[in-house]
């Protein structure tokens, strides 16, 4: 198995430059970073990848047991670093659930990441009264799974396995569509369960890597209160609220994200 092919790893920049590794969130692929990466192409070595099951990754390598929770996705990150022989000093940039995945990887391998930039993090999307309000109830997330079941993204693939006789752990074959967000619906559903039913609050509290938290001002998925919770949990963190409505400032307002990154990384990068 070639990890770099499996995860569709793309690398740009000189080996002598600081390494920035970008991890995409639930939904799309590494293409989500396309408006940010040009700002760092002359001052860093940039590593982009798709989690297995997303983007243009090798879908045949998807394992329902491995990716049953976010640790399987953290394994992807660690295996990519191993394949590239990266053992430390990486600047990790994650969006949404990838913030949690990156933190799991950081805690498992201290020293791998030099610093972390967390865009729209949420350690737990569920409300956990009385102490924590992730924003969603169980039934909201069950509704999301139902919504994805009934959606059209990749429906032909979704119906196809019945013909072959699906087992309890269906074999996923073929390639994902070229479409930006088109993923196999069975995998997307599984990733959604791993993402939205996770509770990684304790893992955030263990993080010792310096982190920049980029919080969207109005975010239906990860509220300012959630961002503040993350800031409290991560001892060595900075908290910046972006004047952005939505959950993907790197796509909608890339200049704001670039500015914040450059400011945070000014000691390490000379862009």
């Amino acid at each position: 198995m070639n990890v770099l092919q499996r995860n569709n790893v793309k690398i740009t920049g000189s080996k002598s430059e600081p390494i920035i590794m970008y991890a995409h969130g639930f939904g799309c692929s590494q293409a989500m970073w396309a408006a940010v990466t040009p700002a760092f192409e002359h001052c860093s070595r940039q590593v982009l990848f798709d989690f297995v099951g997303s983007g243009q990754s090798d879908i045949s390598q998807y394992s329902f047991s491995r990716y049953a929770d976010l640790n399987g996705y953290a394994d992807d990150i660690l295996e990519i670093c191993d394949a590239l022989e990266l053992s430390g000093d990486i600047i990790f940039v994650g969006h949404s659930v990838s913030c949690s995945i990156g933190i799991l990887a950081a805690n498992r391998r201290p020293g791998l990441f030099k610093s972390m930039i967390l865009l729209g993090p949420s350690p737990c999307f569920l409300n956990m009264p009385p102490d924590y309000a992730g924003g969603f109830e169980q039934e909201d997330l069950a509704g999301l799974i139902e919504l994805m079941d009934q959606n059209y993204l990749g429906w032909a693939n979704y119906l196809a396995p019945v013909v072959a006789g699906a087992g309890t752990d269906p074999v996923i074959a073929g390639q994902l569509s070229d479409s930006f967000c088109s993923t196999d619906p069975v995998i997307t559903r599984h990733f959604a369960q791993a993402t939205f039913f996770a509770d990684n609050r304790a893992d955030f509290a263990k993080l010792s890597v310096p982190a920049l938290i980029l919080q969207h001002k109005e975010d239906a998925l990860a509220s300012v209160a959630v961002g503040q919770f993350v800031h409290q949990q991560i001892k060595n963190s900075q908290f910046v609220i972006l004047d952005v409505a939505g959950h993907a400032a790197h796509m909608s307002h890339p200049a704001l994200v670039i500015d914040a990154m450059q400011h945070f990384l000014q000691q390490e990068l000379h862009c």
Binding site: D140, A142, G165, A220, L221, H247
Partner: protein
């Protein structure tokens, strides 16, 4: 009637938002269907959606719209009047609203379509259960058939093509089941004229005219490596309604 009045009269929701989702226009049909009043229109598109839809909007729809400029045939539920959710199909694309960049959203009611699709999904789930049960039954049957290693069991089509072979047949014939099922019984066994005649008759009539066919003979089998061995052969006609596949005969071969 001016253009705005035409938009209000359309039997679907027409909404225009800024790139960040801020509401710029919502037609009358949408206001009525979604139980909105002109005095209290939502500021943002995601306020029209239940929580699940808000996640899907942020994780799939908006990224696709930003990247590709268009999304098509997305299924969504929208908060309706009287606390009901309305199943809708969404198309959206980028555009200009005056001199501002915007997204135009058209949402068509899709209640019946949603019910049909839910039924499809339910049927799919049921088919999966059937497939699992069938696979389980097949494994049991295969285990039983393969447990009899000293007896070869073959199933033949009307014309004598081998459609199934158990492990016992593999051992006696000295060939894998995959090779056996690509061959005919006459490729391996010397059969008397009356059996050959019966097979040809069965092939011509598709087996419909023959009912009770039963042969018990001793004959010679040419194994895969060319060696000849004596075998006892029992050939029985299968009742057509007993099989899903076009199987006509069961053959039991014993090395004697």
């Amino acid at each position: 009637m001016n253009h705005l009045a035409e938009l209000d009269a359309l039997p679907c929701a027409v909404i225009v938002t800024g790139p960040g989702g801020a509401m710029l226009f919502i037609n009358q049909w949408a206001q009525t269907a979604f139980g909105l009043t002109a005095a209290a229109l939502p500021d943002r598109l995601d306020q029209l959606l239940p929580r699940a839809g808000q996640i899907f909007l942020q994780t799939h729809i908006l990224p696709m719209l930003r990247n590709e400029g268009v999304v098509k045939e997305i299924y969504l539920q929208v908060k309706g009047a009287a606390a009901l959710q309305i199943p809708m199909l969404l198309n959206a694309q980028q555009g200009m609203f005056g001199d501002k960049a915007c997204y135009r959203w058209v949402l068509l009611p899709a209640k019946h379509r949603a019910e049909f699709e839910q039924q499809l999904l339910k049927n799919r789930q049921q088919m999966q259960e059937f497939a699992r049960a069938a696979e389980s039954d097949r494994k049991i049957l295969q285990t039983v058939l393969d447990g009899v290693k000293d007896v070869g069991i073959l199933a033949l089509s009307a014309g004598g093509s081998i459609e199934f072979a158990n492990i016992g047949a593999e051992l006696i014939f000295g060939a894998e089941a995959q090779a056996l099922t690509k061959s005919r019984i006459t490729d391996w066994l010397s059969l008397p004229d009356d059996i050959l005649h019966t097979l040809s008759l069965t092939a011509e009539s598709n087996g419909n005219q023959l009912s009770a066919v039963q042969y018990d003979i001793e004959t010679e089998l040419q194994q895969n490596d060319g060696r000849h061995i004596a075998v006892q052969l029992q050939l029985r006609r299968l009742a057509p309604q007993q099989t899903l596949k076009s199987l006509s005969y069961i053959v039991i071969v014993t090395d004697i």
